[in-house]
């Protein structure tokens, strides 16, 4: 195949689409992250997300987030129809900035936790959870 101008355009468009398709599902989660952080830089240290590697029942998946020094923690499930899960704000009497809860997951996906630290910086972590039976019904 000769590399004409037309061919170059077709190949370029294909490559463009291939790059963006896998990220489409996570666009809603990215928006939620941007809304929470306000576009600030997000680090990776100082936050732990404990979750099972494989969840047999997506209706109740136990997860816990531990972020010492955080003022609030946002938990997102990137593969759910709505990515938001919970936003926990810690008050002055919270000893450890950690919270455990049970969440619903529609399928195998990444769960993302972002913590806002007392100094205004953000840290993020994510875990992949394999879900055998999804938990969003109908």
């Amino acid at each position: 195949m000769e590399l004409t101008r037309r061919n170059a355009l077709v190949v370029g468009a294909g490559a463009f689409a291939a790059t963006f398709l896998p990220f489409q599902a996570y666009a809603a989660a990215d928006e939620a992250i941007a809304a929470f952080t306000g576009g600030a830089d997000v680090g990776t240290d100082g936050i732990t997300l404990i979750s099972p590697e494989i969840a047999e029942n997506g209706n109740t998946v136990p997860v816990s987030v531990d972020a010492p020094g955080a003022v609030s923690i946002l938990l997102l499930a990137a593969g759910n129809p709505e990515p938001g899960v919970a936003l926990a704000n810690f008050g002055p009497l919270a000893t450890k900035q950690s919270v455990g809860m049970r969440i619903r997951l529609a399928g195998t996906q990444d769960v993302i936790a972002i913590a806002k630290m007392a100094d205004g910086s953000f840290v993020k972590t994510s875990n992949a959870i394999k879900v055998t039976i999804g938990g969003c019904g109908g």
Partner: protein, 109 residues
């Protein structure tokens, strides 16, 4: 959906002053996500608890905003400091405007 909602809270009865205790809370609630359908294919409307707070003697410990992705019978576990004897107050806010409350007192050992 205000029927059969029963909060359960696990708090130690006594604690040393200034120490940290672990609190576990569970409230029975369907947490209808608004995405399920009934037999006729109609969407069952969303009905969830959208907020949970815990305070000790009026000081906030944790305040959680909840989305439909929280499981049926929402469970939370967290740690709190007990500076003096007093009372933990737990509050759940339902979509339909109902407020469920539970209190637990802690003595200093």
């Amino acid at each position: 959906m205000a029927s059969g909602v029963k909060p359960r809270v696990k708090v130690p009865k006594t604690a040393a002053a200034g120490s940290s205790i672990t609190i576990k809370t569970l409230i029975s609630h369907k947490m209808e996500s608004g995405r399920r359908k009934d037999k006729e294919g109609n969407v069952i409307p969303r009905s969830i608890i959208n907020r949970f707070t815990c305070d000790f003697n009026g000081q906030n410990v944790i305040d959680v905003a909840m989305e439909p992705a929280i499981s049926t019978n929402p469970f939370f576990q967290f740690d709190a400091t007990v500076p003096e004897a007093g009372e933990f107050k737990f509050t759940w806010y339902d979509d339909d405007g109902d407020v469920y409350e539970a209190t637990k007192s802690v003595a200093i050992a």
